[in-house]
Symmetry: C2
Subunit: 291 residues, 2 copies
């Protein structure tokens, strides 16, 4: 009999990345499907996993989502602006097809967990993972547990101070100039009139961007004091960004808190593009062990 596998779903706003892997969290196959309607997208997701002999599935979903197992809407995507997915019973739909342990958390929590078990958070007691891309979000882990309460964090919408050279009004429909409104990929593009990857490394926009990301690092340091903060997502693929973020962070913290050395404290993902998939596999494995 062949080894049973772990399934991973990174459910994002533009695509669903589905993968299967083994107990060593090795990714065996991975595919992606566009995020359209639940009917269309989930048919492709289910079709993919039906090819495998699975033992557990981990889901990291865009949100907001209901993470409380004792809630009547546990496992649902809740008040998302993606209307077709509002109040969608994600875990219920999967359970109908797969009678397996299913872990359910946010996309950023899953990525945080991936880095925590196998990446730059490994060996730490606590880590925070940010994605700076189409949106901004973060997940936090302490001693193996996600930081959460009445719901999951939504760190992407924290308050930031405007850069003195930045006239951009912000692109968040809820808060205009919150972190996401000022620092997500679309904000860069609206400021510049072109995509971030088409800007030179010296463009002032990157200094502005680094200032906002450094504020996220600063507030995270003061509120959670984690062992490490990991910045992933498309914007952080600009390899010059991290050093700019370090520089802005040092100015902001101004010696008040003695953090670990910045090269170990504010980092990019060790798992590169894989923290989400590996995190979902690890969460599936954990769910199986606890089931």
């Amino acid at each position: 009999m062949t080894e049973k596998l772990l399934g991973s779903i990174e459910a994002g706003g533009t695509k669903f990345v589905c993968g299967v892997g083994n107990d060593e969290l090795k990714i065996i196959e991975r595919v992606s499907f566009p995020t359209t309607t639940p009917e269309e997208t989930m048919a492709l997701v289910i079709g993919f996993f039906k090819k495998y002999n699975l033992k557990a599935i981990g889901i990291g979903s865009f949100g907001p989502i209901d993470i409380h197992k004792d809630s009547p809407t546990y496992g649902h995507i809740t008040s998302t602006p993606k209307l077709a997915w509002q109040d969608y019973d994600f875990v219920g739909a999967m359970k109908k097809e797969f009678d397996l342990p299913i872990a359910f958390t946010t996309d950023v929590n899953a990525a945080a967990y991936g880095e925590y078990v196998s990446g730059n958070g490994k060996g730490s007691s606590s880590c925070v993972y940010y994605t700076i891309g189409t949106g901004v979000g973060a997940g936090a882990i302490q001693d193996g547990h996600f930081v959460e309460g009445f719901s999951h964090p939504e760190m992407g919408h924290m308050i930031v101070k405007r850069h003195s050279n930045d006239k951009f009004k912000g692109s968040c429909p809820f808060h205009s100039d919150c972190l996401e409104g000022m620092a997500a990929g679309p904000a860069i593009e609206k400021r510049a009139g072109k995509k971030g990857q088409d800007l030179s490394e010296e463009d002032l926009i990157w200094d502005i961007e680094a200032y906002y990301i450094a504020q996220a690092a600063y507030n995270t340091t003061l509120m959670l004091a984690p062992d490490v903060i990991i910045f992933g997502g498309g914007v952080m693929k600009q390899r010059h960004m991290l050093v700019k973020v370090h520089r802005e962070f040092e100015k902001l913290i101004n010696g008040y808190v003695k953090t670990p050395p910045l090269k170990d404290y504010l980092v990019t993902p060790k798992l590169e593009d894989d923290p989400g998939t590996i995190g979902c596999l690890a969460l599936a494995k954990k769910e199986l062990e606890n089931s």
Copy 2:
């Protein structure tokens, strides 16, 4: 033989409040001593506790402090601007006199723990406690554990946006216009030219103050999503403040996150002036149980 008691030390920047209590966390006696030098103040503290037959002591201290039990400077006050207390081995000094289990955390963590075990955090899975007084600080608890990592939080220094009617430059020596620099008691006094308690309830300064405290609530909601956020300290004794904070919070969050009802979510301490003492007693008891 008389029942052995629990000891509590709330070590603040202006006074040390020492108390003894029983296993039901009932405060039996409480005294306070001015914070001068370690020699003077600690002689009074030790003298007070020597009168009792203690079994454990809980300390909630001003900071920053070293909370890592495996660190060579565990139990020390570290880089405080109070020079006489810099690098002071607080736990070591107590251990020399009292061969007992001693719990050591920040003053705000201790108060958070008090409310978590016996106050408005009781029954929640997570709570955050802010003090808004001479300084601003906060402690966070999830499932009985303090939120922490390389160090403890320093939430009082988070970034806030300036109120459009506020020209005050801020009073934080490290960050000028961070939360503490804009919202602590001394900031109110410097703006008004008189103490907060001498201002009328209708003074615009309270709206400005509420705006900053609401930003703390907002960022805490987005970063930790705790079940409840408790606001204590001298400024919150202004009984009109809480409703002003609710109003500003609603504007900031703008429907993005569905929090618990604000009357249950953003509250003042149930234990009134006692969360610190009760928290230290409870931490002493827990330390004894785990020793």
